[in-house]
Subunit: 193 residues, 2 copies
DNA sequence: AAAGTCATGTAAAGCGTTACATGATTAT
DNA sequence: ATAATCATGTAACGCTTTACATGACTTT
């Protein structure tokens, strides 16, 4: 599939970048749907250079430090466009360890179940908060009124990330309610009025 | 992390199984949050046997065919319980090629954008349908009134899968609406009344 | 001075998919 | 008979993470 390749081509297509810049974009902006460590990015940049998809210029930064600024080639642009326009079949659903544990819920006591779900809920709510803050910043600082601007892409994927978290949180809430109700009933049965 | 290990231990903990049975469960029931090919399952079963987490009995099936029925050991049960009860930090958000392409939306024409989103919407709706059918079957055939039954685990993860698809579909719908509106405005501007 | 960030790489190990390989049993 | 499913494995390759490695520049 070489998705990392196309993620890199797409970013360099937006503007010229160094490997370090790419790393930051992957782990800050794109982190909600794609990411990579620098140990994967640098070898891929080398490969793409060998394949003629990108080229680089070595620029001095201070006295001794040098950085490589990468640009996309015509060949790279065409390859990227081909990938972008091709319609894909649905990917397999992403793996999810928390859901896997939830599947094995029968092996936990109600107290343990509630502890797990509450902890997950807390973390998800915190994450949602951050995403909503990002959205406020985006709406305040960028112009998203036209679809043909890079910021519109930022906007719709951030919107989807927020929806995803909200949906997860809703599910967690419903699970907690059901388990809590069940636990109370169990307690009530042991202490009938 | 060895998540496959614990997925297998959890399943064998529910009931004894062959590698082939595990494969079917992974690719039918668990497919919405974990899965594995047989080429990954068989070596893992061997490894878990070597580690003393599971044991197997070779049973004849017909005249010549033999199958290995795996059971969990005490050691395996304890290891599984440890894993299950340990609270995990949030995983990195799953990668998503469609969202990645959506991020690069500026490099597509409105027509291409709409084609992409409609195709994704169709596929997601079909998937949602299947999940809802599964839910109807589950509710009609299994007793999910008590949390301490294996079926309750099936129920809550299926519920989460349905929520996830609905949320994705909602997002696709909103994107389509915005792009379609924008496209109409663009057309209107070229053909003013 | 020290800590943090910028900047670029390589090596080893783990995880996962695709392809290779074989053969028995069951349903049509 | 033929196709589908049951049943179990290995090999090669690709993707990703963790760890190893180095050094410059900037902020406190």
């Amino acid at each position: 599939m070489r998705t990392l390749k196309y993620a890199i081509l797409g970013l360099i297509n937006r503007e010229t970048m160094t490997g370090y810049d790419l790393m930051k974009v992957f782990n800050m902006e794109l982190v909600n749907f794609w990411y990579a460590k620098h140990s994967q990015i640098y070898p891929e940049l080398k490969k793409l250079t060998d394949e003629g998809m990108i080229t680089f210029e070595t620029l001095p930064e201070g006295d001794k430090l040098r950085k490589k600024i990468y640009s996309i080639t015509e060949k790279g642009k065409q390859d990227f466009q081909n990938w972008l326009l091709q319609q894909d079949l649905l990917e397999p659903t992403p793996k999810d360890i928390f859901r896997l544990k939830a599947y094995f819920i029968e092996s936990m006591s109600n107290e343990e179940i509630l502890a797990h779900f509450y902890y997950q809920l807390e973390q998800r709510q915190e994450k949602l908060s951050k995403l909503q803050t990002n959205m406020e910043i985006l709406l305040a600082t960028k112009d998203i009124s036209t679809i043909q601007s890079p910021e519109y892409g930022d906007y719709i994927v951030l919107k989807s990330a927020i929806k995803r978290e909200k949906s997860y949180i809703e599910w967690l809430g419903e699970c907690i309610e059901e388990v809590a109700t069940n636990t109370r009933i169990f307690v009530d049965e042991r202490r009938p009025l």
